[in-house]
């Protein structure tokens, strides 16, 4: 594949998502509006109204029905997409598991927003983190470019015959969804060629070979099918890598499970998801100028969780600060922290792991807060122990 000519556009995160959906042109989009995802549904409605896509657009009466309609459409043999945020994702919860369990490769942008209560429309990751064990692949996006790129790759990853799992593409509400950004995009024809056709082995709409989807499985079969689903999640890792390679050849933009920024000789580092990576990168640069051996690990793929590779990447650090934009409410730290620490366990040498919970409900996270995290890491590095394992930063006492 030769490098594609790309167009430069200045659009918001939600526009980038809608553009990716338009270029993929799924057979069915079933969606329901919720802040901050709403733009996506509106843009897509316009594409339909202007005849720019041939997609059947189902304006459902709830997110539960959005995901249910996607399940029906995908089982019927169609490529199906939706998009949501926060409480909308929570309302889908039951059907998320069904989409994954039925092995339907639905692609869903999730514009991250805090879950109620208190009701709040701004960014944090409590919504997608709540769905982390639903059997969906989860890709996180630092900016609009990554959200666009991830959506195109998500279609290929989910539909790969070795995978057949639904994929969530997460991006930060407002911070990314509503900010204007310069990005490079492909032409529709290039996207069509990249994503290919969805050709499931069996589909409801095969008159010659009718099928039963969603049978009742009891003690004798449920377990085998759940294990197959778990194995598909494991198998998705090399597919994610292969799709990223192909996408890099097409666009020049190379993605992996995570980005290790100035990690080679780092002593302390923070780990983040999504938009905070940009701020953290700037802080790392600043600290480096001051002689601090600081680094950043930006995780792109949370499911499947790249535990072994992460442990390898973090092995040389003295201290790592896992920044969670979600409170696990577990009394044991945020979800990212718990998983990273567990991935490190059992290795002969591993860094001290601290957890910093930040930015809940859209609380702005500036360089000062990330500097504060690094100060905490450096203190722990010097002392050889943490004053406190889980710290909430940027919050009033």
């Amino acid at each position: 594949m030769s490098r594609a000519q790309q167009n430069r556009v200045a659009i918001t995160g939600n526009e980038a998502v809608a553009l990716a959906m338009k270029q993929v042109e799924p057979d069915v989009v079933a969606a329901y509006p919720i802040t901050p995802q709403t733009d996506i549904v509106q843009y897509f409605s316009s594409f339909v109204a202007d005849g720019e896509v041939q997609t059947e657009f189902v304006t459902v009466e709830s997110e539960h029905s959005a995901m249910s309609a996607c399940v029906g459409a995908a089982a019927a043999g169609a490529r199906a997409m939706t998009a949501t945020s926060a409480n909308g994702l929570a309302l889908m919860w039951e059907v998320l598991y069904i989409a994954a369990g039925l092995r339907l490769p639905i692609v869903m942008p999730v514009v991250n927003r805090a879950l109620s209560a208190p009701i709040n429309i701004h960014c944090d990751h409590s919504d997608s983190m709540g769905a982390r064990d639903s059997g969906w692949i989860q890709l996180y996006s630092e900016d609009a470019q990554e959200a666009y790129d991830n959506i195109l790759q998500a279609v290929r990853i989910g539909e790969h015959p070795d995978v057949l799992l639904p994929v969530m593409v997460c991006l930060d509400g407002f911070i990314i969804s509503h900010s204007l950004e310069n990005l490079k995009v492909l032409d529709k024809e290039q996207v069509t060629a990249f994503v290919g056709d969805y050709r499931p082995d069996a589909r409801l709409l095969d008159a010659k070979r009718p099928i039963t989807v969603g049978a009742l499985e009891l003690q004798d079969f449920y377990f085998e099918h759940k294990r197959q689903e778990a194995e598909a999640m494991v198998r998705s890792a090399p597919i994610i890598e292969a799709v990223a390679d192909e996408y890099a050849r097409l666009t020049g933009r190379k993605y992996s499970f995570f980005e290790a920024y100035r990690m080679d000789d780092a002593e302390v580092a923070v780990m983040v998801l999504n938009s905070a990576a940009g701020t953290a990168r700037a802080v790392v640069d600043q600290l480096r100028r001051r002689g601090v051996r600081a680094g950043l690990l930006k995780l792109r793929v949370f499911r499947p969780f790249p535990g072994a590779a992460l442990a390898e990447a973090l092995a040389g650090l003295s201290v790592v600060g896992i920044m969670d934009r979600a409170e696990g409410l577990s009394a044991a730290g945020g979800p990212l922290f718990v998983e990273v620490r567990s991935a490190l366990l059992g290795r002969p040498r591993h860094p001290l792991v601290l957890n910093h919970i930040y930015g809940l409900g859209g609380r702005d996270v500036g360089p000062d807060q990330i500097e504060q995290v690094f100060a905490d890491l450096l203190r722990a590095a010097e002392a050889g122990e943490a004053r406190q394992q889980v710290t909430h930063i940027g919050v009033r006492d």
């Binding site: 057979d27 069915v28 009466e61 029905s65 009718p210 969603g214």
Partner: protein
Amino acid sequence: MTTLKELAARPERLSGGHRLCAGCGASIVIRQLLAAVDNPMVVGCATGCLEVATTIYPYTAWRTSYIHSAFENVAATISGVEAAYKALRRRGAVAEDFRFIAIGGDGGTYDIGFQALSGAMERGHRMLYLCYDNQAYMNTGIQRSSATPLGAETTTSPVGSVLPGKSRPRKDLTAIIAAHDVPYVAQAAPHRWRDLVTKGKRALDTDGASFMNVLAPCPRGWRFDPAKTIEILTLAVDTCFWPLFEVSEGRWTLSYRPKEKVPVAEFLKVQGRFRHLFKQQNREVLAAAQAEVDRKWEALLRRVEG
């Protein structure tokens, strides 16, 4: 008009060997419905008796394509299937003239699936939603639903020392769906099989959303001899407890008018779930049950004549 001989010659689309109880009304309803047209079809089932009894992996009783996803979402699931059909047909990936049927019990339809049903009807998907109404949550062990009649005993409206069974009358779901102004709505009962099959065909020939509410007696929940399903249905209709009618393009028509309106007590007394209503202390409830049937029947007649 379909003859019994013709119906019997149609391919069986719900095979025998499923695990529904002897005397269950649901399987009779579904077999009649599936015989109504020859088109290939996709059937969706809400969680419930019909679903659990017909698709115990690795077996399926369905000789049509079939999907189950959850309890409250069959209307939305079939919305997605129908949307997929339109998209795939447009791009030449499906050639056949499919039909789409969403099936739920009364729990999955009147109650938990009501929102998804209302949405699908409003959007006008070309689907038939069929409710097999057995008047309680039978699959989980006979709990009251909003389709449970006044005075009926269920495990969540038990007859106690102070309460005489369910304290509220039924929700009139058929009228509610008719109020959605979908092109075709009907109420039917499988002892009048020709009427049911004819309505099924009309519904499935409708270019848009259609709805059928069909009474499906449950010998376990209603507590009667499984051999008496058809007799009980006859009483339900002849007492006007379950009138047969259709609403086609907004026009209400009666499908059957009993020669003589039988007192509802005749229908109630053959079922264990109403046994307590015949005790002296519950006379008022029995009278209220009759008054409710009369009120609804008269309202229906006004709609038919108006």
